[in-house]
Symmetry: C2
Subunit: 151 residues, 2 copies
């Protein structure tokens, strides 16, 4: 079945709305972050915590959808802050291995604590049931765009 004109309009509005929500929530996030932690920095710490450490910068960059150059920058900040440990890869001389440190874990926990009130506020305004229903759709869209980007 081919998409009608209204379908296109709909999708357009959908993506437009997503763009704005992303912008607003990202800004709100950084506003409450302690110690000037950045969203990108947090995302890396979170990734390392949830999926485990011992990852290369490139792996992380791909996972969080930024270029390697951007990851070099973020990694630098996190390392200078003492939130991650960076060691050369034992077997591949080109590569590095990243692990979160104890201070890093604490910083992540503090960050989560800081956003929690914001998230609660959202949860108070929008039923979590509909959020739960919308999430799979978002995931499908993301998966599609992801696939399309790579090939």
């Amino acid at each position: 079945m081919t998409a009608s004109e209204e379908d296109i309009q709909l999708l357009f509005r959908f993506l437009n709305e997503i763009g704005i929500v992303a912008q607003l929530s990202g800004a709100a996030f950084e506003k409450v972050m302690p110690g000037g932690m950045t969203l990108s920095q947090f995302v890396v710490l979170n990734h390392l915590t949830r999926l485990g450490g011992n990852r290369t910068p490139l792996q992380i960059a791909r996972a969080v959808q930024v270029t390697k150059g951007a990851m070099t920058n973020t990694i630098g900040h996190l390392e200078r802050a003492g939130f991650i440990a960076v060691v050369p890869d034992a077997v591949d001389g080109r590569s590095k291995r990243i692990d979160i440190t104890e201070p890093g874990r604490r910083a992540r926990a503090a960050a989560i604590k800081a956003v929690e009130p914001e998230l609660r506020a959202v949860a108070g305004a929008v039923s979590t049931r509909e959020i739960a229903e919308a999430l799979p759709t978002l995931e499908r869209v993301r998966a599609f765009l992801d696939r399309r980007r790579n090939g």
Copy 2:
């Protein structure tokens, strides 16, 4: 009813997913744009087309959620490209009035034509019915964040 821990987790994932979709779709958008038109530029042209011209830069900035500084920049590009007309406001000496031009309309149409295949591809991968269902939720979240940002 107060939000449970899982609700918070859910919302977090939700917003995270939104951030990634926004990034991927924005990048995909600019990739197919003709003449190096930028997403922000398109958004302004689109806004002027849909809601009518004779608007001030500040109105547009607020509508599309960027700072006035960013709007100064975007307006400059669009004007240099001949896509908008900028005239001083007749009654308020501080202000300007923006209108889209014929070339601007054509550029917008061309832009839409260029993204259409992309949107069709998305529509092929994700049912438009679920998109339609998710949209109101997004709008509610956006409205909330918007309200919260301002006051």
